[in-house]
């Protein structure tokens, strides 16, 4: 079994995302959580908000853990399996800290907003000052609590910054209904008015998107 264990995504502090993302989701809605891990978020949404929440996860050990907890989770790959869902099947499609690890982030976002009315996306911010400082001062790829793997081991093949993400939403014509930046502990950063400051001091970004 150990031989089959795939490379883990960067350590997910789901407690953080859980609170921030759950705060953007209306009670009683239909939710698909892509990269749901052991299903903590969908369990939370079902129990506290009576949502019909389901999940897709690529790591089979996590899928097994989730289903063994009675959660509706299927093994699947965000890059491949979203095309099989019908248009508008969900009120929210969630992608929690996995955008940077998918093969085709732009296509995954398009699929999310095809099958869901709204998308909730969170990702670690590569524009954080410590990341910038490390690259500038050492000339080596940054290694921080968030970006904790050497460049050749990381599954995070598409890192982006908060401002990059704003730009992508603009290009793709998505409406950013809400957004916030937070530190690793889940504390909302106080720079919500300024994307520029949030991009410097926020360790992660959380976005609520809608088709325009």
């Amino acid at each position: 079994m150990t031989a089959l264990d795939p490379v883990r995504f960067l350590a997910k502090n789901l407690r953080v995302d859980l609170v921030l993302i759950a705060g953007m989701i209306e009670p009683g809605s239909r939710v698909l959580d892509i990269g749901c891990g052991d299903g903590t978020l969908i369990d939370h949404l079902f129990r506290t908000k009576a949502c019909d929440a389901r999940g897709i996860e690529i790591d089979m050990a996590e899928v097994t853990r989730a289903v063994a907890h009675g959660l509706p989770v299927m093994h699947g790959d965000a890059d491949i399996d979203l095309q099989h869902y019908p248009d508008g099947a969900f009120d929210y499609v969630v992608l929690s800290r996995a955008l940077q690890a998918v093969e085709k982030p732009r296509m995954v976002l398009q699929q999310m907003l095809r099958i869901g009315t709204r998308a909730v996306v969170s990702f670690p911010n590569f524009g954080h000052w410590l990341v910038r400082w490390q690259l500038l001062s050492t000339g080596r790829m940054p290694m921080t609590a968030t970006w904790a793997r050497p460049w050749h081991e990381t599954p995070n093949i598409h890192p982006c910054t908060i401002r990059d993400f704003f730009a992508l939403c603009e290009e793709e014509g998505y409406c950013v209904e809400r957004w916030l930046a937070a530190d690793e502990g889940g504390q909302r950063s106080p720079w919500r008015r300024s994307a520029w400051l949030a991009n410097l001091f926020g360790e992660q970004g959380v976005f609520l998107l809608r088709r325009r």
């Binding site: 097994t64 063994a68 019908p86």
Partner: protein
């Protein structure tokens, strides 16, 4: 419901609990059975509002003795790790029903039964049946037991085909569906292996055009070869290597029994031979032909304009698809095809593949992760069904 003894065959001389329905039953092929019997076993207790019933569907050579000693073979039930008190399908909580399939040979109407038109066993004249016919007969049994909706339908391999058919045909009667190690259609390769088995039966001199029962013989050799061939497909190369490798053992003296050099034979040969010879003591050759054919015919997507998603549109049933990594008879890709069709239909689906080297047979064997997952899925469903357990 009465039990009767029939003395034409040791398999039916054992009394099997059954229900006989005297109204006609029109098969998919158009033939009408004037009356039909379902042999079945139940475990646990049906609750007051009849909401805790779980139907277990058996595979090709299984039968209704899922969780108890078999009255013919004396062996333990075929799924005692799954069904029983404290097991994933917990008989302390659920009322479990396991019927013998239509076309089978353990008491349900099949080629061993008497054709009322002739007074003889049906034999090869038994009409072709389909997975759909099997499921419709099971529905009749469930109604007879006073159950409008099953909490869950579960089965592996051909049992999984029945689960899919149940969910497609009677979506409102199935709260949760658990098709295990199965496919929405039988592949060309699977049909090919079945055909090898059938030809082995036909080639046996004791086959006698399927009327072997008239002469008091059975095509034991042919049926055993069919079983041996099929048994290989239930295992994996790794499992065979692990269990037997190239180890040798003493060969029987009879040159008609074994090809041997220096009085030795391979252990795997001996194992397969044992599988074949024990099988013929409990299974009827004509039933084997009937049921393998039913599996071959199965193509649920084709019944719904070629799109499997159409079989499940609007369904409220919760699905758990489970497959096993070394299963090459019903590989994970087949389960994934079903999962994607269910996604297209907007259904609630869980899908897990379990890593194992035990091949297709893994669904019958000790696989703790699989068992934990089944238990957890059913627990989750019970929560959503507000089932008091």
């Amino acid at each position: 419901m009465t039990s009767t003894a029939d003395t034409t065959d040791p398999r039916v001389s054992v009394e099997h609990t059954h229900a006989t329905f005297d109204e006609g039953f029109t098969l998919e092929c158009g033939v009408v059975l004037r009356s039909h019997t379902v042999a079945f076993r139940t475990y646990g207790t049906l609750n007051a509002d009849k909401s805790n019933a779980v139907l277990v569907c058996h595979a090709l050579t299984g039968d209704q003795y899922v969780a108890e000693t078999h009255p013919v073979t004396g062996k333990g039930g075929w799924w005692t790790a799954i069904v029983g008190p404290g097991c994933p399908v917990d008989t302390n909580k659920f009322f479990v029903i396991c019927p013998n399939v239509l076309g089978g040979c353990m008491g349900s109407t099949g080629p061993l039964s008497i054709d009322p038109a002739t007074g003889n066993p049906w034999g090869t004249d038994f009409p072709p049946v389909t997975i759909r016919d099997m499921v419709r007969q099971q529905k009749r049994l469930i109604e007879h037991l006073g159950i409008a909706r099953l909490f869950a339908v579960i089965g592996g391999s051909m049992g999984g085909m029945q689960v899919l058919q149940w969910a497609a045909l009677f979506p409102d009667a199935v709260f949760a569906a658990l098709p295990i190690a199965t496919a929405s259609h039988h592949s060309a390769q699977n049909i090919a292996f079945h055909e090898v088995g059938r030809q082995a039966i036909f080639a046996d001199p004791d086959w006698r055009q399927g009327r072997y029962w008239r002469d008091g013989v059975i095509p034991a050799r042919g049926l055993a070869v069919a079983r041996m061939c099929a048994h290989i497909t239930y295992l994996s190369e790794e499992a065979l290597s692990r269990k037997f490798g190239r180890r040798l053992q003493n060969a029987p003296k009879d040159p008609a029994e074994a090809i041997n050099l220096f009085g030795e034979m391979f252990e795997v040969e001996s194992y397969l031979r044992h599988q074949g010879s024990t099988f013929v003591q409990r299974f009827d050759a004509n039933a084997y032909l009937t049921i393998t054919r039913a599996m071959d015919y199965f193509d649920l997507g084709a019944d719904f304009d070629g799109d499997l998603a159409n079989a499940f549109r609007g369904t409220k049933t919760r699905f758990l698809l489970a497959s096993f990594s070394s299963d090459w008879l019903f590989p994970t890709s087949e389960s994934r095809t079903i999962a994607r069709a269910l996604n297209r239909a907007g259904a609630n689906v869980s899908f897990v593949e379990f890593p194992t080297d035990k091949g297709h047979d893994a669904f019958l064997l000790d696989e703790p992760d699989f068992h934990r997952t089944l238990a957890g899925f059913l627990r989750g469903c019970a929560l959503h069904a507000r089932l008091e357990t």
